[in-house]
Structures are given as C-alpha cells and as structure tokens.
C-alpha cells in the first residue's frame, strides 16, 4: 500500500467518524443586542426571570421551621408569593441586593415538588448554582455545566439573561433557566423558584 491510498483512507475514516458525531445540542444565549433591549417582565420567551424578594417577617421565617429541608419553604412561598406579588413586591418582601445571592453555592432541596436526595446519594454530582458579583453565574445540573449572565436584582427582580450549557438528559433536575416567567422568594438561606402562578418549582439552600 502506498502512502497516498493510506492517506485517502485516513481522510475517509475521519469523515465517517464525523458523521457518527453526537448531535450538537447546546443552549445558546441570546444575542447581546437582543438582550440589551429586552424589557424586564415583558415577553421575551427565551428570557427566564426571577422575582427575588427577601422575606424578613419573623412569622414567615418561623413558617419555614424544621420542615424546610423537605420543602417547607415551598409551601410558605406558595402562600406568600402569588402572581400579584411578582411585579410588585409586597410590604413584607424586602427587595434583595446582589449581595444576598453571593457567597457559596445553592443546592436544591426540592425539585418539581419532590425532595432531592442527599448529597451522598448524588455521588458528588449534586446540582448547584453559584452567583458571582460580576453578573455571571455558574451552575451544574448533575450532568451539564452551565454558565451565563444574570442581571439585577432591581426592584426585587433577578433575570437570567443568557446561559450556555449542554442539554444532556438529566432526569433528576429541573433547568430553571429554561423556564419562563418564574418568580422567586428568598428566606434567609433558602431560595425558591416559582412559576407564574406562584407555585414552587424548586427550593434551594445556600451551601457555604
């Protein structure tokens, strides 16, 4: 066999291999120019946003109680953060600052109404979100690394403007960034993500 035919076979092999390549299924962020003009709380189906408020009432904090580990905040949140509170935080909600989100990671306690298994059971693949002060967030959903931008909080609102990450199937996790019209409330070191009706989608706890 001469080198030419071998080189041809090598090229053909690479072409065949390329055709077996997995499908490209990455979530691409919105364009910078689009993002710049996206009005908060308006349309923008690709833009997930979070209404963030800090509940400071002692009674509400008490509601969390010891059952927060299995979704106690979720039930509290559902009562205190209905649809009407998403656009105008009530007097019992203090708009959060970015500083509230910073520091440590957020791990899920409850996803889609179900308690999340302990970290040990996740075998070091426990999902998390971490907010950085320069407007970036990092996340791990147990299967995929995600990175993107968030803005706010302003007037209690936090928006996930864009993100990039693989969408490899990860049955145990809800991609909060894929959802639209979410709200959230925050109590101490608990963060709940809500749907547009105020139902709890996920509850996170801060892990230092």
């Amino acid at each position: 066999m001469n080198d030419d035919s071998l080189e041809t076979e090598i090229a053909l092999y690479f072409e065949r291999l390329a055709h077996q390549s997995p499908r490209f299924e990455f979530a691409a962020p919105q364009a910078e120019s689009q993002r710049r003009f996206t009005a908060p709380l308006v349309g923008a189906a690709a833009v997930a946003f979070v209404l963030l408020a800090v509940v400071v009432g002692a009674n509400q904090l008490g509601d969390m109680g010891s059952d927060a580990e299995t979704g106690g905040l979720g039930s509290s949140v559902s009562r205190t953060a209905g649809p009407s509170s998403k656009s105008t935080p009530t007097a019992s909600h203090t708009p959060a600052t970015t500083a509230v989100l910073l520091g440590g990671r957020w791990e899920p306690l409850e996803l889609a109404g179900r308690p999340v298994a302990s970290a040990d059971e996740w075998d070091n693949t426990m999902p998390w979100i971490a907010f950085e002060k320069d407007g970036w967030f990092k996340a791990w959903d147990g299967c995929n690394q995600i990175r993107g931008r968030y803005s706010g909080p302003a007037q209690g609102e936090l928006r996930f403007d864009s993100h990039l990450g693989k969408h490899r199937g990860c049955s145990n996790f809800l991609h909060p960034f894929d959802l639209t019209h979410m709200g959230s409330v925050m109590e101490d070191d608990r963060l709940a993500l809500l749907d547009e009706r105020g139902n709890t989608l996920a509850v996170y706890r801060r892990v230092r």
């Binding site: 092999y13 291999l17 390329a18 962020p29």
Partner: protein, 168 residues
C-alpha cells in the same frame, strides 16, 4: 476578523456542530468531545469581545483540550494503547482480513495523542504543516515528524497484520 457585534449565539449556531465533530474525531469519545466543546464555548462566551478569530480560537482550544484530556486519562488508566495494540496483533482468529477501513479505527485510536491530533488537523481540517504547528503550539519540524511517524506506524501495522495471515 469578525465584526465586533457578531453575536456569540450566531457563532455557536454556525460553527458549534463543526467544533463538536472536530472534538469527536480527535477523541473518538462522545462524552469527552461534548465536554471539550462545551468548555471551549464557555470560555469563548466569557471572552467573546476580545476574540478576533473565533473559529481559529475554538479549533486551537479543542485541540489542546483533546491533548490534555488524553494526558490526564493516561495518568488514570494503565496502558490503554498497549491493550488495544495487543488485542489487534494477536487477533489471529479473523478468517479474512477486514477491509482497511475496518482496521483503521483501532489503529488510529492507538496512536499517541499528538500524532492522532496532527492527523486530524491534516486530513480532517486540511491544514498545512505551519498551520498545524500553530494550532498545536509546537514546531513545524515536530509536526512533520509526528505525521511521518503516524503514517509509518499505520503502514507497518497493516503490513504486520497481513504477515500474520490477515491478507487474503
């Protein structure tokens, strides 16, 4: 040079599949290829405004990602290449020599990482020696050497297979 306002998502849509294929051809592993591609795109996302030649940047990052991954893997797995070679050399029970196309996958995958990556850049990306040297961050003479050794190894392996009775 890309337009300043060319969007990152447009680049991902246009070039993403191509980059994933490149990573897959270099590594031969789905998950590794996805991880390398994602790491590359995430890094580019953050530095997007300062990247003047996105595809060149991405190709170089994926190349180094593939080499680094194999380097890490080689510290974790004992002699995977030897295992593949042994399996091939002593597979004398094959009744007929498989077509070269069937032999090449194992042979190419058993090449040292740098040689395999150089082959991909030459025969898949169709780069010349200087371009390969730039992408891999090595000298042109090293590229020529890597390519020559890779071709020689493949040719010798195929000849050896014939000598062991693989040829009809």
């Amino acid at each position: 040079m890309r337009p300043v306002e060319q969007s990152f998502d447009a680049f991902v849509a246009a070039r993403g599949p191509q980059l994933l294929r490149l990573a897959y051809v270099m590594t031969g592993e789905v998950q590794t290829a996805e991880d390398i591609t994602q790491t590359t795109l995430l890094r580019m996302h953050r530095r997007w405004r300062s990247i003047r030649h996105p595809y060149s940047y991405a190709r170089q990052a994926i190349t180094h990602g593939a080499i680094d991954h194999k380097r890490r893997e080689s510290r974790e797995v004992l002699l995977p290449n030897d295992a593949i070679t042994d399996k091939f050399v002593y597979s004398t029970s094959i009744a007929e020599e498989p077509a070269m196309a069937e032999l090449l996958p194992d042979l190419v995958q058993s090449l040292p990482t740098r040689q395999r990556v150089a082959l991909v850049l030459r025969y898949f990306e169709h780069l010349d020696t200087l371009e390969i040297a730039s992408v891999m961050g090595i000298r042109a003479s090293s590229v020529r050497s890597a390519l020559a050794r890779a071709i020689a190894t493949l040719r010798e392996s195929l000849a050896e297979h014939r000598a062991r009775g693989g040829a009809r």
